[in-house]
């Protein structure tokens, strides 16, 4: 066993330990807190790179190592958990530690003024640790545990400015919506445990996603003639859909932008939200497993689980892109863009396998983190402004941010040769060849058009035209987004023009430049001509087809289509927004003037939140009230009835006692007394009376005897 693999657990544990120590530090220890967090993550990065190099050094087929340790015992079974190192883990480890480290460094600048600076780094380090644990987990249980802690840190960081009720509500919403998905994941997990007998992914052929248990798993039919593998995979997908903001569980992600921007970049764009895609890639053998009898058919028709993933992903990709078109908050546009891109990843995974989806995940992590950090730099430079209508012309004030942002934006749009181009084309190419339906391909293509369009629109609003400063009384959209909202308002009120937008400090711009480099270059790791990434992830040896791959007609069609679509999108965005940029912050959006109803509908995100509030949320509160009523009046009522019945019996008993028993007794004694009184009348003590009685009695006796004798 390689010592590196044996000690791979250090990668997540180091940041976690740092988080634990920071938690105990007093608030004033800002430097040690940031130092600990950054230092621990830097060590993790070094270890991750070493692990990556180690994986590379192995022959392709042997790039899977794992360590399993017993955790707890029930009966004769030990529940084991463990960690593993395979290409998927290695790639993700490097990505998360690298992007994470850049964002940690950036945060020292962004959060410099925050009073809870130490707490922020505590949460960030905990997040990093938990996220890394998700990546190295060799057990669905361990993955789930880390997954939930990731959810907790997301909750803590979205609600970091907890005194803002909107942030507190958004944090709660994020936790609860993802937990809905996690219930599916939990059920899927215990079901998988019951069927496969283990939750380890790899265990020398006995792991739950290895051939042994998998081959007999589909033999169990659950319902509707489906094999158990399908519902299990779909239930686990529920968890992934919640975490990765897939329709219909996407509602939390845009609200999550209430958190500080570095959090949005790290957690809600680059890493955590991609964990769902990662999970799908991890359990891909389960997703694609079919009964052996129909294995041949499976080559043609994907499993129900994969079809579902594809459809949900494709719908999410287009749906979120339409919403992004009509947003004005710079971070919300990026948030919906993230949802949309996560849809692409899911779709890519469904149509083309893990390598296709994961490639987009990796490239997206870099350019989306860059977009968010760029947006953070813009917000920072504009003293907390987030409304793109109140920006404009910033390219003059923030040249570095502008350059980096442009690179990221082109990468996101899928502009030829930028990173997103290669990864998105991989997805569209696979979608084009997908046998069940070609509709996901078209959904994705239209989504790509919209992506180019809304990014062009955003660039036009933010960086081109002229500066449209906020009205003096204008309340900041997110007062909390600046460290000291009061100071900001002061500035806005008293010296609105001296507080010009400014470029951010180097600690913030240097990470931007580094990320920008990757946003441009990273795609070359997985071009069709040299699909190194795909081969690495699939644990096969690289067979580079060379440039002939570009000449393949199907691929050429897709590539040309997507390029054309991107160009059209960019052109439309430029044509509509850059030719006649708005001059006032309050001027209506050009689309708003053209089609106000549609624009409002998209601006409100298809009213999905309102729909949920009116149905699910209300239903839930109704149930709560019903349960309360049931408790108070039905169950409590029965008890009350029994009480009353007992009291009634007691009352009756009392009455019976008083009137029947006591009364009867009283009546009896009364009669006796009366009799006594009556007889005492005769006891006068006078001889005359007694003699009179004797005389009467004698007469009566004589008369009786006379009559008695005659009769």
């Amino acid at each position: 066993m390689n010592p590196l693999v044996a000690h791979l657990w250090l990668i997540p544990v180091l940041p976690m330990a740092a988080a634990g120590i920071i938690a105990l530090l007093p608030r004033s220890k800002r430097l040690p807190a940031a130092g600990l967090a950054i230092g621990s993550l830097a060590v993790s990065l070094v270890l991750s790179i070493a692990a990556f190099a180690h994986t590379l050094s192995l022959p392709a087929a042997q790039r899977l190592e794992f360590v399993n340790v017993p955790w707890l015992q029930f009966g004769d079974k030990w529940l084991r958990i463990g960690w593993l190192l395979d290409p998927l883990t290695a790639v993700m480890l490097v990505m998360v530690t690298f992007v994470g480290l850049l964002i940690f460094i950036y945060s020292t600048g962004y959060m410099a003024e925050d009073e809870n600076f130490t707490r922020f780094f505590c949460f960030l380090a905990l997040f990093a640790g938990a996220m890394l644990a998700v990546l190295i987990a060799n057990s669905l249980l361990l993955l789930f545990m880390a997954w939930e802690i990731v959810g907790l840190t997301s909750y803590l960081l979205i609600g970091f400015w907890y005194h803002n009720p909107a942030a507190a509500a958004a944090a709660k919403k994020a936790f609860l919506v993802t937990r809905i998905g996690d219930l599916g994941l939990l059920i899927g997990m215990v079901w998988l445990y019951a069927q496969a007998g283990t939750l380890l992914f790899y265990d020398n052929g006995l792991g739950s996603i290895e051939s042994g248990p998998l081959s007999h798993l589909p033999a169990h039919t659950a319902f509707f003639g489906l094999s158990a593998a399908s519902p299990i995979a779909i239930l686990i997908f529920c968890g992934a859909a919640g975490k990765s903001g897939q329709v219909p569980l996407h509602v939390w992600l845009p609200d999550a932008m209430e958190g500080p921007t570095p959090v949005s970049a790290l957690i809600h764009a680059a890493t955590m939200v991609a964990a769902g895609v990662f999970l799908m890639a991890r359990i891909y053998p389960l997703m694609s497993s079919t009964p052996e009898a129909s294995a041949l058919a499976a080559a043609v028709t994907p499993t129900a689980a994969l079809q579902l993933v594809t459809w949900i992903g494709a719908i999410t990709a287009l749906f979120a892109a339409t919403i992004a078109v009509a947003q004005f908050d710079i971070k919300r546009i990026l948030a919906y863009s993230t949802v949309s891109q996560l849809g692409y990843m899911m779709m890519g995974l469904g149509v083309g396998g893990p390598a296709v989806g994961m490639f987009h995940l990796i490239t997206h992590a870099f350019f989306k983190a860059l977009l968010f950090l760029g947006a953070g730099s813009v917000i920072h430079g504009c003293s907390g402004e987030q409304d793109i209508r109140r920006m404009g012309g910033l390219r003059k004030y923030m040249p570095v941010t502008f350059a980096a942002y442009t690179a990221a934006m082109l990468a996101l749009c899928g502009f030829p040769l930028f990173a997103g181009f290669w990864s998105k084309d991989g997805i569209l190419d696979a979608a084009h060849a997908w046998s069940p339906s070609v509709i996901p391909f078209w959904l994705g293509t239209i989504g790509a058009l919209l992506t180019a369009f809304y990014m062009a629109r955003q660039m036009a609003y933010v960086f081109f035209g002229t500066l449209r400063p906020a009205a003096p009384h204008h309340p900041s959209h997110h007062p909390a987004e600046t460290e000291q909202p009061i100071a900001y308002e002061d500035v806005a009120e008293h010296e609105p023009h001296t507080h010009r937008p400014h470029e951010s400090p180097a600690v913030m711009t240097v990470p931007l430049v580094i990320l920008a480099t990757f946003a441009v270059l990273l795609g070359f790791l997985g071009t069709p001509a040299w699909p190194w990434f795909q081969a690495f992830l699939n644990r096969t040896d690289l067979v580079a087809p060379g440039f002939s791959a570009f000449a393949e007609p199907a691929f050429l069609t897709v590539m040309l289509t997507s390029t054309a679509v991107v160009l059209i999108g960019l052109f439309l965005g430029w044509w509509l927004y850059s030719r006649n940029p708005i001059t006032h912050a309050d001027a209506p959006d050009i689309l708003d003037s053209a089609a106000p109803a549609a624009f409002t509908f998209l601006g409100h995100a298809w009213y999905i939140n309102e729909l949920y509030a009116a149905t699910l949320v209300r239903l839930n509160s109704t149930f709560a009230v019903l349960a309360d009523i049931l408790d108070r009046f039905v169950f409590g009522g029965v008890v009350q009835l029994v009480t009353w019945a007992s009291l009634a019996v007691a009352q009756f008993d009392r009455l019976f006692d008083t009137y029947a028993i006591n009364g009867g007794f009283d009546l009896g004694t009364h009669t006796v007394r009366l009799g006594g009184w009556f007889t005492t009348r005769f006891q006068t003590g006078r001889v005359q009376t007694y003699l009179r009685f004797i005389a009467f009695a004698l007469i009566a006796l004589v008369l009786y005897l006379l009559w008695g004798a005659t009769a």
């Binding site: 707890l72 015992q73 004769d76 507190a168 937990r179 939990l186 059920i187 408790d631």
Partner: protein
């Protein structure tokens, strides 16, 4: 067998403490310090027992067996296996927390703390008794201190709440007693192990039902009737919906220190009863009523979580939460009687139920402790609307209570999770629909717990609480062990499971 009377001494310790306090502790200060000291000694005592417990054996240990009333076949029989020991540990951990949370009680403090210790003694007694006779004595006797603790130190509606609590529990006890008297008619034994052995061999019910032979009842129905009598006693105690209506009132009206004992220790007497008495003796009857029982367990989990969602009073919220958490235990216990040749799932379910029992004791006690602190600092108020934004001025309070709340929510890494996971792992294959429905309770718990955090700690600061003090150094020190325990048991549940596992195996193998 009768070596050192450790268990008798354990029960006698708090009882002696109570007597000492009543006789000698004239001041409040002395009374509460004595009580805390005695309860900590008891905890240490249990720890020693835990340490010396042979964790490779499933047999009853520390046994004491003396004939007591030969004419009635009553023995004084004590002993603990893994299950009993775990229950002792739960009660011993909870009592000092309850005493600490009662620190502010000034009115007739000596009596209060004496009653608390007496309650602990009764609970210890019931967890160590292996003979129905004196088990039942402790079971009933525990109501006396509990009743007076609620009646004398409770809130506004204490009179109604304490009476309902006493009478309701008493009704259950009477039906329980009647059932066991019926069993005694033919078996002539009160010993749990003997009754269980008879039940297993199928020789328990036929003679009993033959002897009773009431007019219209078939033997089967008669057996069910006896089961239901015993069942009612435990279902009220835990409680199980719909026999729970005494609980929200009692938990809310009781002084919070007492609530801690009621939920942390007394409710475990019901769980223990299910495990020690109901399943071994009435397993066959439970099996024939499996569907309704599972239904009630799921109803307990879901309805109580929904009811918690509708509450405004913090104590009422967590009173319902308590029903919800113990509902998972009962779900697992009911799943034990499902006929299934593979014992693996039952091992998991029972291990999970035991972990959940201990964890619920620790977590619920700590959460109520925090509520007691909130209540004290807000002058007796404890509605959600009475707080808000406290995290700003009391960050340590918010952080530590947050940990306790997330433990209650079942967050992995804290103690709530391993038990709940094992329960679902075990129950799902045995009863897929019931356990799938039960997951709804996990979501609802998250909703009301996050709502509590949102309303109490986040948002703008409630101006009426602007002087809310953060935890003092003493309070932090006192709370630290409980919080540390949450992490320890969440990360290393094996420290508990390793000790109870042989008992779990033996228990499951002796089912049917």
């Amino acid at each position: 067998m009768n070596s050192f009377p450790a268990l008798s001494l354990l029960t006698a310790l708090p009882a002696a403490g109570a007597v000492l306090i009543l006789l000698f502790a004239r001041t409040t200060k002395l009374a509460r310090f004595t009580a805390l000291l005695v309860s900590l000694l008891a905890l240490f005592f249990v720890h020693v027992l835990w340490h010396h417990f042979d964790s490779a054996s499933a047999a009853y240990q520390y046994q004491e067996l003396h004939p007591w009333i030969p004419a009635l076949n009553v023995d004084y029989h004590l002993g603990v296996d893994g299950i009993g020991l775990l229950m002792l540990l739960a009660a011993a951990i909870v009592t000092p927390i309850g005493i600490a949370a009662s620190w502010h009680i000034e009115r007739r403090a000596p009596l209060y703390f004496a009653l608390v210790l007496l309650l602990e003694a009764c609970i210890f007694g019931s967890f160590t008794a292996l003979n129905f006779f004196h088990w039942f004595l402790y079971w009933e006797l525990s109501l006396v201190p509990a009743f007076f603790l609620v009646r004398l130190w409770g809130g506004q509606r204490r009179a109604a709440a304490s009476t309902q609590f006493l009478v309701y529990t008493m009704v259950g006890s009477i039906t329980l007693l009647l059932s066991f008297l019926a069993l005694f008619l033919t078996t002539h034994t009160w010993d749990f192990a003997q009754l269980a052995a008879l039940a297993q061999s199928g020789q328990l019910m036929p003679p009993v039902t033959a002897k009773l032979a009431w007019a219209r009842f078939t033997p089967h129905h008669l057996a069910l009737l006896l089961f239901l009598g015993a069942f009612l006693g435990f279902a009220v105690k835990v409680p199980l919906v719909p026999f729970h209506t005494w609980l929200p009132d009692a938990y809310t009206e009781a002084p919070t220190g007492t609530t801690i004992l009621l939920t942390g220790a007394m409710s475990k007497m019901g769980i223990y009863g299910f495990l020690r008495i109901l399943v071994p003796v009435f397993g066959a009857e439970m099996q024939s009523l499996l569907k309704p029982l599972l239904f009630l367990a799921v109803a307990s989990i879901v309805l109580s979580a929904y009811a918690a969602l509708a509450q405004k009073d913090l104590k009422r919220i967590f009173a319902y939460s308590s029903i919800n958490h113990l509902g998972y235990c009962l779900l697992a216990i009911f799943a034990l009687v499902i006929a299934n040749p593979d014992p693996t799932q039952k091992y998991a379910a029972l291990s999970g139920a035991l972990l959940q029992t201990l964890n619920h004791a620790i977590t619920a006690a700590t959460v109520f402790w925090f509520i007691a602190l909130l209540e004290r600092r807000a002058g007796g108020l404890r509605s959600l609307a009475d707080f808000g934004g406290l995290r700003r001025i009391a960050p340590v309070f918010a952080g530590l209570m947050g940990i306790a709340l997330f433990s209650s929510l079942g967050l992995p890494g804290l103690n709530g999770f391993p038990g709940e996971f094992l329960i679902f792992k075990g129950v799902f294959p045995l009863a897929p629909r019931a356990s799938s429905f039960a997951t709804l309770g996990l979501l609802l718990t998250a909703i009301f717990i996050l709502t509590v955090i949102q309303r109490v700690f986040t948002g703008p600061l409630n101006p009426e609480r602007s002087t809310f003090p953060d935890l003092t150094r003493g309070e932090r020190l006192a709370l630290a062990p409980a919080i540390a325990l949450m992490f320890a048991l969440g990360l290393f549940p094996q420290i508990i499971l390793g000790v109870v596992n042989p008992t779990v195996v033996a228990y499951v193998q002796h089912l049917f």
